[in-house]
Symmetry: C3
Subunit: 417 residues, 3 copies
């Protein structure tokens, strides 16, 4: 157990993943077929481009966003990529079955793949919290569980609270953040001295992380509008632009304010500039004036930097949750801000047209939806964390946390970076 060498993954990784892939192929063989009816092709092609934007966010954006760890950049990018490839296949199946609530053949369309990509992004977000502390087998187990639970939660939401499709998917950030945090809580161990130093950022990997951030930032308007109709889309796009612009400015200034000599922290920037986009996910299409989006973006940036500065002290030392890439303040807190804004907007809308009772009813439903995703995120995250602690996964030893060398074949001359 205390061996200096990292545990070999050869007995686990190839066997499990190949078996999984074969199982997936068998399920696809028996239970799916393509949509052969002819439809409106023009819309298809326009949607294909929006879907590509989301794929860029998942593969490049979330992949490189977490690549700034000094000695863990290869794993960050490649594990993210592998989780995405598996997650998309699994999500198409789970979403298909749970959408029709039967075992009939699932019909696969272009839009079901795009929806699956968004579903799979939930795991990529959560993985940021456990990065460097889990091996690829554990991460792939997490993919299977999280995608299933997220899809089940959305089905529950649809059946009980009757939210629409867009709204259900946009609760991804709060769900994924709290799922990731509880998994990280289960996997967190006190770090030995030498390991803490590996949890550092270096110059060139930080530029790669900036590349990831920019890819997410640029295409976030597409993400927030992918399931909307043409009419609602415009507002969601415009509001996301404004919120992102405001959160960028506020994040950079707050980061300088938080440092005694006014220096900016690059890791803050990577995460906090995105807070505006996260905050717009749920309420974006309902906001009718740009200044509201800007106020929310500004607030999201403040919350995110505040969280990055003060939460680690509380979470790390008191609760023992080591949140490697700051998932809580990048996705969790701004997501909550967005959810609460949506509740207020719905309340105002209901009170304007109807009675006090309908307004109260609306608040109850909106808060119920937000609470549902947070609660299932926390609960399923806890179960997943406990499951991942079982020995059969050969989790990396704590001395090998944040270390690419445990997983990757390096050239014999250990060339720097």
């Amino acid at each position: 157990m205390g061996s200096k060498y990292p545990r070999s993954m050869r007995g686990r990784l190839p066997l499990w993943t190949l078996m999984l892939e074969v199982a997936l192929i068998l399920i696809f063989f028996f239970f799916t077929n393509y949509d052969s009816t002819s439809k409106d092709h023009k819309t298809d092609v326009a949607n294909y481009q929006l879907g590509q934007d989301v794929t860029v966010m998942a593969a490049l954006g979330l992949g490189f966003l977490t690549s700034s760890l000094w000695r863990y950049s290869w794993s960050s990018v490649a594990f993210n990529f592998c989780m995405l490839a598996l997650g998309v296949q699994w999500a198409v199946l789970v979403d298909g079955f749970l959408d029709q609530l039967s075992l009939e053949k699932v019909v696969i369309t272009l839009s079901s793949i795009q929806r699956a990509t968004v579903s799979a992004m939930s795991v990529l977000i959560s993985a940021g919290a456990v990065l460097g502390k889990a091996n690829l087998v554990q991460l792939l187990v997490m993919v299977l569980i999280e995608v299933t639970v997220f899809s089940a939660t959305r089905t529950l939401d649809k059946e009980v609270l009757h939210s629409n499709d867009h709204l259900r998917l946009m609760h991804i950030h709060v769900f994924a953040a709290y799922f990731g945090l509880t998994v990280a809580w289960c996997l967190s161990r006190p770090l030995p001295k030498g390991v803490e130093e590996k949890d550092q950022r270096a110059v060139s990997p930080s530029l790669f992380a900036m590349l990831g951030t920019l890819c997410l930032w640029m295409f976030w308007p597409s993400f927030n509008s992918i399931l909307l109709t043409q009419d609602e889309r415009k507002n969601a796009i415009l509001n996301t632009y404004y919120a992102l612009a405001a959160s960028t400015v506020s994040a950079i200034s707050m980061s300088a304010l938080a440092h005694p000599r006014g220096k900016i922290n690059m890791t803050h920037i990577h995460n906090a500039v995105l807070a505006g986009g996260v905050a717009m996910s749920i309420p974006g299409h309902q906001i009718l004036e740009p200044w509201i989006a800007m106020v929310l973006g500004l607030t999201a940036g403040l919350i995110s930097i505040g969280g990055a500065k003060y939460l680690p002290v509380c979470f790390d030392h008191l609760l023992g949750i080591h949140d490697t890439c700051g998932v809580h303040y990048t996705f969790g807190l701004p997501g909550l801000l967005g959810g609460i804004t949506y509740i207020i907007l719905m309340m105002r809308k209901a009170s304007r047209v109807g009675s006090l009772i309908s307004s109260f009813h609306q608040v109850l439903i909106s808060s119920g939806t937000l609470g549902l995703y947070v609660a299932t995120g926390l609960a399923s995250g806890l179960l997943t964390g406990l499951l991942l602690n079982i020995r059969i996964w050969r989790a990396p030893h704590v001395a090998k946390y944040f270390d690419d060398q445990a997983f990757w074949e390096f050239p014999h001359l250990a060339v720097g970076f």
Copy 2:
């Protein structure tokens, strides 16, 4: 004043930028609203994709283009990003007010954001000339001034010379280049020995710069056609493709010719391959045969490499203008080439259909337009430069030029790059 430590930005940056952001939100609150009339949604979505291409150029392209400085790559990318976020918000307002020439409510549409992104790119281009010699507060002041002046110049052009919308925006390169050069002239100081060494390029940052160059190169056809109608768009796209291809080939061969042992200079390549796209911005939609675009691309590449080789000697030593990223020969000279080509094309067109007088009139108008942008660029750049020399901005000391450490919190182990 001669302190070894860089001046703290804490008293300036957060205060100023947050106040600015709050002021922006107030202006948006009182003076803007969204366009609520329903329009042709199909065109909107197609234009959204073209607009995304331009956002990629602004955030990734211009951000990473200047990231090749050895110890200044973080600031290059992140300051560019912050200027873009602020610039887009400001440009929407200024463009809106100056377009209607009244203080009525500005109606915000998707296309007004795209236009604002292009306007904001003027500052990103100019910033290349002063990179490493100004702090973020100075750069943000520059954003406010340059976007306002560029918008005012375009309004003047519209009212007096009646140019169309596309043509006005495409004079951005000459305007921005000469604005940047005069600001750089005001900020230039003789560099101490150690600082000159920081003005070097390293291998990995150069690859990031190559990434920026390629992002600009690939999406330049979208930039040159974003404001055109469907009919004119095709020619602008095709001509930009050809000019870029020709300038790439000529830039690489000229760079090898300029070196005594035939070696290619990476910094030349980053900039000069784009010369063809810059040269196509103004006349692109009026060129009806591919060979003309190719000749212009070839010439633009030659001029750009020639400028990179011989201009620094003249500008740096005689005039004392230190143009960090070669804005003059990347955007200035090829932009002038494009402007002059447009004058010739207009003259030929007028002389073919009309009398000598109408031909002469056309030349006068086209040259007037080009001259207007160069002149306002030079004049407003000079005023901005003088303004930025005031002490209140806490400009970085000359010993801290080109140094990320003045602005960024670095990890305690100064990991390489």
Copy 3:
């Protein structure tokens, strides 16, 4: 000949390329004009976006894919870029002339540039095999020959075997791989001790290569569907998604299985995850069920990793072919798999509707097509390789293989990377 210094390119590169560019402009002057007839603009713009995806694959994807060599990353990216710029110009001409089989004026449209970009990608693929062993002049000669031969082969295919446009272009992978391999065979020399060490991968360049891989991975569905009609496009896109996802999972697990301690090889990942997309190029639009695409993707991943593990032993030591970037197992073998799948699919289809004879006839035609591209690839590659061995090109000395310093002007302080 045995000089320590790399041979100067000054006498060759600028002269040849400028002359070439001028010759191209002259040909464009006499033999081309733009399409001035008005057409369906909506389709044009939708296709423009698909074409942009392919440009991203060619410039960013194939450029950075090969950038992981320790001391050759600048040349990988920049030479790829230069070859693309020249290749597109040349391919438009050659394709135009061979398409109409006369010397009439070639009409240039947006789609002819996109087709030319795909044609030019054949050289970018082949260049991976000779990377680090040829100078830019040799590579540009290769561009001229390979684009011409590829276009001629497609014309032969069209005239004799009557394949459609899409199918002809999708044989690019097998053609380019075998072309590249035979050129590499001619240029391969036993490497001295010090040079072998340069054939290593480092951390940061490997992340750039990952960026290239991801760009190719994300946009491969656009590549496989660019020449299809709206109806066929959907299946090709969906199948490519599934094949890529399956090959990613199988490549990562096989790479771990192939290492005694279960470690993953980054170079394998860069190449093998793309095998699914390559395998889908030829048969993609004819596959009607997702599980077939997934089985093919899985198999392609296995073949690719198997090839990466065992082929170098055989090829390198027995045949003396040094395939720098593993073109054979990235593009060659998966391409053959796709070709054979297409033959089987066509046979099944023919046997279902028609007689045994028509089925046999179909097999003959499909195999003939595949064989044609492999054969012309091998033959023309051999001739090109022999031509490139002539002394006039000043090929780099074997001691300067894989070395950026032979071609690039470096800053005086040799900053690491």
